[in-house]
């Protein structure tokens, strides 16, 4: 009986950690979406989403990655989540018209890719090189990459991200995107 109670307690603790993690991811994404001027809601990267979705799907045996997959691809199935073609075309047009928003979407994508790599060692070991290639394609600099990692580390140290966060950011892009300055 005592073992049963201990098992239940351990399960409750694990559930609580998952709940806290879920809340943290949702709050951070809401904050980041604020930077792009959107009110939050649907997670659309257009075609970029395919790459991100594939990584989450490949490593979703990890409960924390599974949480991220559920948040960013709610209710989607199949081997690779593909957004509807009309949505992609719409996103093309939208992004072409709003350069700033386009960059914010890049920043957001790279942030969640690095976050996933920090959460799961397999992603870090197997995908970091391709994430760096992707960052290079998205015109990230070394300073920016360092800043994005600083924020990931800050959050995973149990801190909350806000405009007042004492983050030692070096790139103007990082300061603008994460601290809204």
């Amino acid at each position: 009986m005592a073992f049963g109670r201990q098992d239940n307690k351990a399960n409750d603790n694990a559930d609580m950690k998952i709940v806290k993690f879920t809340t943290m991811v949702q709050e951070v994404d809401h904050y980041l979406l604020g930077a792009s001027g959107r009110a939050g809601g649907v997670f659309i990267f257009g075609k970029y989403k395919v790459y991100y979705s594939q990584i989450l799907k490949r490593y979703n045996a990890d409960p924390f990655i599974s949480v991220m997959e559920n948040i960013f691809n709610p209710g989607k199935g199949g081997p690779v989540d593909l957004v509807d073609e009309t949505v992609v075309i719409q996103t093309f047009k939208e992004m072409k018209n709003k350069q700033e928003k386009k960059f914010n979407e890049y920043y957001r994508l790279m942030f969640w890719l690095l976050f996933a790599a920090a959460v799961n060692d397999e992603i870090y070991n197997n995908e970091l090189s391709s994430i760096a290639d992707f960052a290079y394609c998205l015109e990230f600099t070394e300073k920016m990459m360092g800043d994005w990692c600083v924020v990931v580390d800050y959050l995973l140290s149990g801190n909350h991200l806000s405009e007042m966060s004492p983050l030692p950011l070096e790139s103007p892009e990082g300061i603008s995107y994460f601290l809204h300055r």
């Binding site: 920090a118 990459m145 990931v152």
Partner: protein
């Protein structure tokens, strides 16, 4: 208007399976990790195209976009390219950070 891009055809290979065990695509001119100069040139061409697709700079292509998405992901995910000059410093920037194994730090932080 974006330039029209000639797409190198891809084919479905029944023998090639993705990690879910489903048949997946391969490029008809495949690139390997050990590349000759000619292959490298081919791979860089493929890479630039995949990059264009994912960065939305290629808007007008000769193949349906869903297939292009598969191909772009496949190329970026499975072929190594000689672009270290650009991406290696970014990878090093990540390695220098304390990010690795961050979940353990997080679990410790929230348990207090």
């Amino acid at each position: 208007m974006a330039k029209r891009v000639k797409v190198i055809p891809i084919e479905r290979d029944k023998n090639l399976k993705n990690n879910k065990g489903r048949p997946t695509y391969r490029t008809s001119k495949s690139a390997t990790i050990h590349l000759s100069e000619q292959q490298k040139a081919e791979a860089v061409k493929l890479f630039n195209m995949a990059k264009g697709i994912l960065m939305n700079t290629v808007l007008d292509v000769d193949i349906n976009s869903r297939r292009m998405q598969y191909m772009a992901v496949h190329i970026l995910g499975h072929i190594e390219f000689d672009i270290d000059a650009g991406s290696r410093p970014l990878e090093k920037a990540v390695e220098k950070s304390n990010m690795r194994g961050g979940i353990q730090k997080y679990l410790k932080a929230i348990s207090y």
